[in-house]
């Protein structure tokens, strides 16, 4: 089956991100396809490049990046929700006159149209959120 994930929960402040990552691993372990993860609402903070949790906690960014590296899962971040929350890649940082950037590949800033296409193009879109 072709799955996709919509993540609305921020990292470390709620269970949503941990559950979404565990669900993603379970989907792939069962031999299903994961068409993509879309980060929206507070979920965009899962793409924060500078995330530095204590070593005895799961590193969520590394977790998402691992999914992409091993299985090519697209990591899509809503650009409007991200910019509001201080999350931007190098290109957007330049455009907004900011020093430094907080999002990098394999996370990609994209629009909500991608969420709709992702949802309509898979068999199951599973939402994790508050």
């Amino acid at each position: 089956m072709r799955y996709a994930i919509l993540l609305l929960g921020g990292p470390y402040s709620a269970q949503a991100a941990h559950s979404a990552l565990r669900f993603a691993r379970a989907v792939l372990a069962r031999g299903h396809r994961l068409e993509g993860v879309f980060f929206y609402h507070d979920g965009v903070q899962n793409a924060a490049r500078l995330m530095a949790p204590p070593q005895d906690e799961p590193h969520l960014v590394d977790g998402w990046v691992g999914l992409n590296a091993e299985q090519g899962v697209p990591l899509m971040v809503c650009i409007a929700a991200a910019l509001r929350r201080g999350l931007m890649d190098e290109r957007e940082a330049t455009r907004h006159g900011k020093q430094g950037h907080s999002v990098e590949a394999p996370f990609e800033l994209t629009g909500l149209g991608q969420l709709v296409d992702l949802g309509l193009g898979c068999d199951r879109l599973v939402t994790f959120g508050p």
């Binding site: 709709v116 309509l120 879109l125 939402t127 508050p130």
Partner: protein, 125 residues
Amino acid sequence: MTDVPPYHGDLLVILRHGPHGSSLLREGLDAALVAAAFGRDVSLLFMGEGISALVRDQQVGPLGQKGTAATLQMLEMYDIDRLLVDGEGLAGLGLAPRDLMLPVEVLDSSAMAVQPKVHRLVLTF
């Protein structure tokens, strides 16, 4: 087994949060508007506190948030005209359709249950 009616649309956006407690309602509406702008047939289902978004005469006010009333007024321009409201939730808030800023279809619990089946995709906010 009850018969499942034919599809009503591409996308059902379920809105369960009020307009000011979080940005979930606004970001849910944004997803609905974008889908409609891309030509998708969108229905909105207001449940729980989400119903309070429809109450008349909401101001932007001093809260530092844009609120959602202005967005709701734009729905017609995006051809989003199927606004569904959970009847039990509406009554629970002490509200009636005349208290709401837009015409809505009030659903009983059996009509509520069928909504996810008659849309291709459900997004819950």
